[in-house]
Symmetry: D2
Subunit: 366 residues, 4 copies
């Protein structure tokens, strides 16, 4: 049994395996009247798709999305939108070894333990290919946000690769200028050298991604178990290989005093509250403050490596394993658009939830 849906009102169910005929997202709760076509979604899929640089898997997947339902004459109708991506470059023979052996650090063993059957080809459902469906749904979420709450911007980028944190001033204009989505030309160079060496040695490495949502209206989040940060934590932790999630100050909040942590409040010239700092990451009590919403997550290194590791087989025998196939040396790179997609989906979901509350005498300040 599995639970493959996320969201309260904007509900995304992803389906499909790495080497099956297709995968996709069944998206329910899309508001009607949103302008959308395949190209508007494709642009995000292209950002995530494999093979765009030598630092990602060389599997050639065009990841071409098709809209099968829920759109009529260029607009959503309020009915479920089916987004389908056909798989085209499966090389299942690459995976023969994995049919019997469990890759250390991979879901091979747990899927077997849970289900007693697994589609081992390319990791089946546990493959990072599943995230293509998230990105497609995220593209739809962005389009809906553009209609319902124009001005919201969502941007992701890497801030750490292995031992190398981003250095120097952040320059957001650099994000699209390097294969790592890092806002620093200097860091991009450092990482390029580091990763090239790692890739050649058949190893892999982890990464940290930060995603920011700007111009999010205050009031989003449904305490106490549908808090905005709760749902963001779940959304990011559900991405393959993620091992930690932080909001604003994150784990470092433990090291602050109350005096230092308090984001002081002032009135802005536009009659809206402004804050002296953003330790909170734009969320207090699970509800957006109107500041930037800031989320970070850590992606562990790819488990499929050329370095030999000890493992066991399904029949319980010891074995050494080397994973050939085609794998990302730093799967964190392609997690950037995935993190953006999850942010977009969660923000839209909470916007819809909050609007359902109409009739409330919402709080005005001043």
């Amino acid at each position: 049994m599995s639970l493959n849906t996320f969201g309260h009102l904007f509900r995304v169910t992803t389906w499909g395996e790495s080497h099956g005929p297709a995968l996709g997202a069944t998206v329910d709760g899309v508001p009607p009247g949103v302008a959308i076509d395949e190209e508007m979604i494709q642009v995000w899929l292209d950002k995530r798709k494999p093979g765009t640089s030598k630092y990602t898997t060389q599997r050639k997947e065009p990841d071409q999305v098709r809209i099968l339902s829920g759109v009529f004459e260029g607009q959503t109708t309020g009915t479920p939108v089916q987004l389908m991506i056909e798989n085209t470059d499966q090389r299942s023979k690459d995976y023969g070894d994995i049919a019997e052996k469990f890759r250390p650090g991979h879901a091979d063993i747990t899927y077997w333990q849970k289900y007693g059957i697994r589609d081992y080809r390319g990791g089946g459902r546990s493959s990072a290919r599943e995230t293509a469906a998230r990105v497609a749904a995220g593209g739809l979420a962005r389009a809906a946000l553009n209609t319902l709450a124009p001005g919201i911007e969502i941007q992701g980028y890497m801030t750490q690769m292995g031992p190398h944190a981003i250095t120097g001033e952040r320059d957001m204009s650099q994000i699209d200028q390097n294969p790592f989505w890092v806002p620093s030309a200097e860091t991009a160079d450092t990482w390029a050298n580091y990763l090239e060496s790692l890739r050649k040695s058949g190893n892999s490495v982890g990464a940290i991604i930060e995603v920011v949502a700007r111009n999010v209206p205050p009031g989003l989040g449904a305490p106490v178990y549908g808090k905005l940060d709760t749902d963001l934590a779940a959304a990011m932790m559900s991405i393959n290989a993620v091992k930690g999630v932080e909001i604003g100050e994150g784990m470092a909040a433990a090291m602050l005093t109350g005096e230092d942590n308090a984001d002081e409040i002032f009135m802005g010239n536009d009659g809206k509250p402004v804050f002296s700092s953003n330790h909170a990451g734009g969320i207090l009590g699970g509800i957006s403050t109107g500041q930037d919403v800031v989320v970070r997550f850590a992606v562990k290194p790819t488990s499929s490596i050329l370095k030999p590791r000890q493992t066991i087989t399904k029949s319980g025998e010891s074995a050494e394993i080397i994973t050939k196939g085609r794998h990302d040396p730093c799967v964190g790179i392609r997690a950037v658009p995935v993190g953006e997609a999850m942010m977009a989906s969660v923000i839209l979901d909470h916007l819809l939830l909050h609007r359902g509350q109409i009739g409330a005498n919402r709080g005005k300040i001043g």
Copy 2:
């Protein structure tokens, strides 16, 4: 509008405000035939209740739980269990100031922005008192686990307070011997001095809590959006003041190579897989491996401090605020039993989900 329920099959809805007549947890999905009485739940509430040391709020709340439904002749019946705790020591006059001013770093402003009305007394629904209901539900979850899967142990402890991480060898027998639930007598002394000084200065500080679940069977977790780590991340992030959640290696996974991160697998003498390490924190692909499940979360410092901070009033005027009331200088201390309760609830929930899957030819190894 709010969403106050967590869990898939073991569903806990908490209700109540800090200064209302009572608060509690409506717990649905409790398996029938679980031996339970109020005392079995009270023991956990006593661990969380305020006023047990000078390092926690001096509000005097006995936090006495009453079971109002779902239990007959000492056993659960499979119907909803209502756990109610009456509030007895409200001093609402302490909060007059807060009615008009928003505490920086607190949910005061966002509840106002979202709802346009808020029960400001003691923080209302955003108060840490809400966690008493979680602990009560967690006590019930532990009892159910004892019946359904005897042997599972859940233990929480603090590993960091402000700048001071735990030092020296961990000695689990020390956890219950100090007011900080820290597995180190030496660290307890350091923290005592540090916190005493902080408390006297009217300041507060953050903390990191680690919670471990031992003897969890493999196979728990429902990929890809009801993963065990996803649900744990949501559960912990939903606790007041939490800003980061880590599974196993956590954020540090970003710094590892694939070679180092791989927990190698061997066959144990008992015919079960054993792992050379536990970077994974007991979870791979969102499913438990049978290793210890390890979660950490960071709690920010209490926002209610005696240090003066700049803020605004409801009418938009600048103001300085000092929060008197009775507050925890390190609310992370009392978050330890809360983290345990969330772990117990999530593990039970996934045990029930997994058992619903009967009929599967689950995977045997060897």
Copy 3:
């Protein structure tokens, strides 16, 4: 395991047993800013409470509701509202016999088969007392409707008791003038005689209740599995003893031709569509049309009767059973306010769902 919550956004979880200390409803998703106090809820509970005429159970329960959370200074805050009703007139000794024997037509045997334990006192959770919690929640729903969509009226009444259908012209002003909530003085007399004779003989009888919602805006209902009629059918069928639910023409729709069934459409003077008839019961394709929403449901006769019936004991022995206790000869009477409460809850829930859809260019006609 059980599922004791209904509703999508307005979510009501009922808890409690017939002879436990209390029962109630945990209501989440109540919009903020709704004026409410206990008296506004009590008025509906008084309509349902036992012992108001000789035609209902003589158990004396004041059914006094207490609001324990979610309301501050006379308004809802958007946080969960706990509505508690204490049980005061339990006579558990009446039920000794039922501890061992299963009443035919009653849930005694199935609760035992499912759970292996049951609170047999007064039927435990399967008692019609559970519906008090629904009525309390329904009172809150009515208050919210008054705030969000003033003008919606919800009214229930009986249309059939045993072999006697309502006769003559319906006179709605009569509904509150007789103990059967029947819109006909003449029918009330017939039923009084019939039921008195039945009650004396220790027998019971079934009934049909109709509930109408007037001034419901068009557009409510979430096809295709959260249709307005789907949710109404579930809501009514979930009431104890209900065996059938009809919308508009109901089962008789089977006998109509398409020509006869079509409610023809015209434009009204106010620029809104008007219909020549209402075979649809105010719902087309699962969405409200703006006409009266009309639901009917059949309640079977009370199973607890003085007439001796054959049954078995828990140990599998044949036995004869006579149920003494205090029971309703026609439990359908007290189902009238319960049906109204369910209608109010479903309408409010769909109003909230529909409003969440903001941003849609909703359809204007003309």
Copy 4:
């Protein structure tokens, strides 16, 4: 916004419009290890597909199902199963008239009122074509039931068409021998004559369908809002054109006395309880008794008829409408396999829910 998913653990989300490129069902919660292939599902689709007799729409749709995910080497893997059916015989030009006018008795007007946009081609999402997806999911549910609980049989048939109820003794062997799935050769003849005449006159008619599930184990159903009968009522009411649902005695339960309604209980030779009758329709207190589960539902006549009816246009002008297209004169006929599919899905869902309750000391009798 819409809610297109049903089920608690066996969760079916249908998607697609009548004249879009495809439609289908995303099925989550399928237990692993269930033997399945496309042919096992196709057999049920063939039963529902149009054009099999002159009494159904002449649209030519092969309704060929493709399994796109969740199945590996002939078995389910526990991951979502995507069942896709491509549309091949859309004749959208037939529907030009409907773009502007609302068919009386049809969802045309309410979709417009709700969403402000609608895919009018063939009724879009409100078309009976949506039920093909339900039937596909139902085929999968049947396969899972065969694996988890062999012996359960689910059978639907018609019992009434317009004014003509089934007459004579029921002969179940006749069900597959006539185009109406009626268990009576004599009635089939009567209906054939009646419907042929109706069809020629361009009219349509309603019907009643009964669905029986045999060998359902006792204990299924989750009171009080996930009762087996509650979920069956919702499942059937969610089918297009259904206006009433009955369990066992149904609406006629209102006419019974408690003495007559009580299904007396005896011990069978096999040590299981047997009942003297089945007024309950196999369900007491929302939980299955082990008797046959019996559900009936009424389908209204097709709204798309050749008889001219008065209506209005989108611009609010009066108009007469005649619906040409290709329509079922009695859509109830094709609702038979749909009702079976819903029954299969609900029974499987509750079987999974009930099994999640393991650890219960379930009730033994005797």
